[in-house]
């Protein structure tokens, strides 16, 4: 099998071929490493490629198979890891100068799970600094290009992970989603991304942006692949107090049995209107029509609190971030600037933070510090928490009437690099449809639903399920995916220009 065939395989197909002996894990790893070598100069999905580590892991899988040991469902499948998870054998920069070259002394729980499942980690992917952004332009190491059009953003913060998938550098990736950082990149690159229920995937070793919102999750090119990865990385972790102590919902089974027959699907009226690109609305409406054709009942919903979600998010997330990022003081790890023996610790901390943090990170630290200040706490952080409660209630009420909710994942398709870089408010709007889910802690998926007619760029369909019902995302997602692929005659990504 040629390299160009191998890299187009799904994760499920790769795993099956390795298990059957048709392919070795080393061949698969080498094909992907060669692809990275060939295209990543243009795409810049990776911040670090661990060639040796990946090949060693692949060899271990092949040896395991030769010894006749049973292989896990993703054994030997390559994966691109967002550079926000700690890895003992690779630097973890979180896209920041602050942690340039920092090799953590411990593996994140998610990384340990990937290793235990014999997944081959190719390297660490680019991201907006500390996961703050919707375009990956805030990375201290330069932007990532969208494989559909390299002059456009791949979404963010996890643009590196979604670009790696869309450019066939990896069949699987891991992202993290605080306000849409898995789903929005998936939408604008024509890939699949899932934000599991808050607490489904351990946050231990995932560098914190906003602790009550951050959630790691799977990224892939198909719904089934995402489910297979979901099952590997989810599960209770005693090292994370907020981790859910319950069995992982049957996501793989759901992905293998896609159906919306008899399901009630909600359409929220707040998820459309001003700021939504016409082609996005058009593809979304077609998706709703498709769901109806497939046997779903469509229910109109009113969730008034969703209009306040963006405002609440931009108080809660910066507040938590101002505290989470306080530890970066140049004393114990990472960057230290200006320590010439004459300056006080306070001065060195100040110089280090000035040099180590980018503008967006500084903006959010300042916003959050202000929002938590005494005298402002009730008006800002306190009010935002109340809105959060209202949003959770609106979702609860909605899920009394419907099984899942659908919406566009993002109001527009991928915008040009640089277009919104100086306009934070415009940038924040990219997460208009994804943020309510983070605030409520429930589960959501983005999957491709076509190309916008006006620009020929991918549009994402978001499916939202109640907390702990992640399997519904896969059941609905698999049905929609199958119907679209049948309609298009091929997966959407095949329409992307070759790099």
């Amino acid at each position: 099998m040629t390299d160009s065939t191998i890299i187009k395989l799904t994760a499920a197909e790769i795993a099956a071929r390795i298990a059957s002996g048709e392919l070795t894990a080393v061949e698969v790893a080498e094909a992907h490493l060669a692809r990275i070598e060939a295209v990543d100069e243009k795409v810049h999905a990776f911040l670090h490629v661990d060639r040796e580590g990946a090949l060693a892991q692949a060899r271990a899988v092949d040896e395991k198979r030769e010894r006749g040991e049973e292989l896990g469902p993703l054994a030997g499948v390559p994966l691109a890891l967002k550079d926000i998870f700690t890895t003992r054998d690779m630097p973890t920069t979180v896209g920041s100068r602050m942690l340039e070259g920092w090799v953590p002394p411990y593996d994140a729980t998610l990384v340990s799970k990937l290793r235990a499942a014999d997944v081959v980690i190719l390297g660490k992917t680019n991201m907006d600094e500390f996961a703050m952004g919707s375009s990956t332009e805030n990375s201290a190491y330069g932007p990532t290009g969208n494989p559909w059009d390299l002059t456009r953003i791949p979404g963010g913060s996890g643009g590196g992970s979604s670009a790696a998938l869309a450019s066939y550098e990896a069949p699987l990736a891991i992202g993290t989603d605080t306000g849409g950082s898995i789903r929005q990149p998936a939408a604008v690159t024509g890939t699949v991304g899932v934000k599991p229920t808050y607490g489904a995937v351990s946050r231990f070793g995932m560098v914190a942006f906003s602790s009550s919102l951050d959630q790691g999750g799977p990224c892939a090119r198909t719904v089934l692949d995402a489910a297979l990865l979901h099952e590997v990385v989810a599960g209770h972790d005693p090292m994370d107090s907020t981790s859910i102590d319950a069995p992982v919902p049957p996501v793989v089974e759901a992905a293998r049995n896609g159906s919306v027959q008899g399901m009630r699907v909600g359409v929220v009226k707040q998820f459309r209107g001003e700021g939504y690109q016409a082609g996005v609305v058009q593809r979304f409406d077609e998706s709703v029509a498709l769901l109806k054709e497939l046997g779903a009942e469509i229910v109109e919903l009113d969730c008034p609190s969703f209009d306040l979600a963006l405002s609440a998010y931009y108080l809660i997330a910066p507040s938590e971030c101002s505290s989470n990022l306080a530890r970066f003081d140049g004393l114990r790890y990472g960057l230290r600037t200006g320590d010439d023996g004459t300056r006080s610790a306070e001065e060195v901390t100040s110089l280090t933070r000035e040099a180590g943090f980018g503008d967006e990170v500084k903006r959010r630290i300042m916003l959050g510090t202000y929002a938590l200040s005494s005298g402002y706490y009730d008006a800002y952080y306190g009010s935002a928490q109340k809105v959060r409660t209202l949003i959770t209630r609106d979702f609860e009420k909605a899920f009394e009437q419907v099984d899942v909710i659908v919406s566009p994942t993002t109001p527009t398709t991928a915008f040009p690099i640089g277009e919104r870089a100086d306009d934070p408010m415009a940038m924040y709007l990219a997460d208009l449809c994804t943020i309510p889910t983070n605030l409520a802690g429930n589960a959501a998926m983005s999957l491709p639903c076509g190309l916008a007619p006006e620009d020929g760029l991918p549009v994402g369909l978001q499916i939202i399920a109640p907390a702990m019902k992640d399997d519904r995302l896969y059941k609905v997602g698999a049905a929609v995916e199958a119907a679209f692929v049948a309609r298009w005659g091929h997966p959407l990504l095949e329409e992307a220009p070759s790099l």
Binding site: A208, D240, S241, S319, A326, A345
Partner: protein, 504 residues
């Protein structure tokens, strides 16, 4: 800001003003592991060897609550007659300091685990004073900074600082009183008695050794004065880290006098933190708090709320040990000692040692006698606490047993104790090695008496002549001959018997 060191006499201060106190006590819990990670809490390890990504605040690390820490907090809360929260959260207290790895302290803010309690403390004359408890909450300790190169050991003037994070994350309970009013001129004594009672309580609960000299229990003294007869509290000073019972008493006294001097002189008290100086019992200005420090508290999102079930709380309540004041009163009655003697035992820190000695088989009066006499003398001479002496209650009990059985007299027993303290082994080994045994062989003793009479004929004659008091000299001679290993009373009997003289 001018620093005033002129003081008004304590009596004069109290003639005009009424002191209002607030005491904040931090107790390091004696859990095996830290509050939010599995690192050891053992004291004395090499710097930074008891650390991990969690207590070093590494990126990505997350806390997990130590269940024993929560249980200890509930025990303390119940023993302080507090309500126990049905649901409470940790909060982040945000401020920058190099010995705090995350640059926020995981603490509790407006949802303490225990609140609204009281502690009755007994003053030296037996009067009982009730101190109201505002709250007891859980938090983590910081690391330790050592400032090098300065004259004072404080950061000011230091060339650099060394950081040891072994202490970072050790569980702390902070116990805060409500304003203590009505103590009047006894305020210093009340403060000291409160801290002493709290320490005894913490120890009785088995949640900490609460050794103030080791920093396991640290006290901040807040004090203000108001003119007698007025309601409104004055501006307070916060004297930090007052770390012995005596210092607590002195700090209150000093601050009363200092505040009075300022107020009498027409000045105003500045709200500030102050440092206490052990050498002369004075305080000096630390940093001025022009406005309340903004810690930007918010609920800790990395931890789930703590929700102690009522059943669990009641289970803990039922398992609480006898509390110190109750126990003290019971023991005082059992032993039949006077209040003042009991106070002396407490002040010496001998109560638990005496009880343990009794538990090891010694009669109560013997146990009290050895700890409050010979052993207290040794402790005073060597400047150590009684419980730091190199002798165990069981060993003291054995000495007492050897005395009761007549194998040792008091003089020999003191030598045995000296041997044990000197590291020569347990009492039996010391007796063996030093050959310390009362000569009870009547034949040998008789021979020694005969010898003494023969070589002190003049004295013997005096005794025969009725000067019984002179027998002491002969007793001394016999004791000397037997190297002190005879029972002096029996020797005296034998001398008088042999000289044919009756007692008195």
């Amino acid at each position: 800001m001018t620093v005033t060191t002129d003081l008004v006499s304590y009596e004069d201060a109290l003639a005009t003003f009424e002191p209002v106190m607030g005491l904040e006590v931090h107790v390091e819990l004696g859990t095996k592991t830290k509050m939010f990670c599995g690192c050891s809490t053992e004291l004395g390890a090499e710097p930074n060897t008891q650390t991990c990504p969690v207590c070093l605040g590494m990126p990505g690390a997350l806390p997990v609550v130590n269940a024993t820490g929560v249980e200890s907090a509930v025990r303390i809360g119940l023993a302080l007659n507090c309500e126990i929260a049905e649901w409470c959260r940790f909060a982040r207290k945000n401020y920058f300091y190099p010995d705090m790895p995350k640059n926020f302290q995981t603490s509790q803010y407006d949802e303490p685990i225990a609140f609204d309690g009281y502690l009755d403390v007994q003053l030296e004359d037996g009067e009982v004073f009730r101190v109201e408890i505002e709250r007891a909450h859980m938090e983590e300790d910081t690391g330790k900074s050592t400032h090098v190169g300065g004259a004072t050991g404080r950061i000011h003037g230091a060339s650099h600082s060394l950081l040891d994070y072994n202490r970072a994350g050790i569980p702390l309970i902070e116990i805060v009183t409500k304003p203590i009013v009505g103590a009047g001129d006894r305020a210093p004594e009340v403060a000291k008695a409160y801290v002493a009672e709290l320490r005894a309580l913490i120890r009785a609960l088995g949640v900490s050794e609460a050794r103030m000299e080791m920093g396991q229990m640290r006290c901040d003294v807040n004090l203000s004065l108001r003119p007698i007869g007025t309601e409104k509290f004055g501006t307070r000073s916060e004297t930090k880290n007052v770390n012995s019972l005596r210092s607590v008493e002195r700090a209150v006294r000093y601050e009363v006098q200092r505040h009075a001097a300022v107020l009498v002189g027409g000045g105003t008290i500045v709200q500030e933190t102050r440092h206490f100086h052990e050498e002369d019992g004075s305080t000096t200005s630390g940093r001025v708090k022009e406005e309340a420090e903004d810690y930007r508290y918010f609920p800790e999102p990395d931890l789930v709320p703590v929700a102690p079930s009522r059943a669990w709380v009641e289970e803990i309540r039922a398992g609480l040990p006898e509390l110190p004041r109750v126990r003290r009163n019971r023991l005082r009655e059992e032993w039949g000692v006077a209040a003042l003697d009991m106070q002396a035992i407490l002040n010496a820190g001998a109560l638990d040692l005496i009880v343990a000695t009794i538990d090891a088989g010694a009669p109560a009066d013997q146990a009290r006698k050895w700890w409050m006499g010979e052993l207290s003398r040794h402790a005073n001479e060597s400047g150590t606490a009684l419980d730091e002496l190199a002798i165990t209650p069981a060993q003291v009990a054995r000495v007492a047993e050897l005395v009761s059985s007549g194998d040792l007299n008091d003089k020999l027993a003191r030598q045995v104790i000296e041997g044990v303290l000197g590291g020569e082994g347990d009492p039996d080994t010391v007796v063996e090695k030093r050959g310390l045994k009362v000569v009870s062989d009547e034949g040998a003793l008789g021979a020694a008496v005969d010898e003494a009479i023969a070589s002190n004929a003049a004295i013997a004659d005096k005794i025969r002549g009725g000067k019984v008091a002179a027998a002491g000299a002969l007793v001394g001679a016999v004791m000397k001959a037997t190297r002190g290993q005879a029972d002096a009373a029996r020797v005296r009997e034998l001398i008088l018997e042999k000289l044919g003289v009756g007692e008195g």
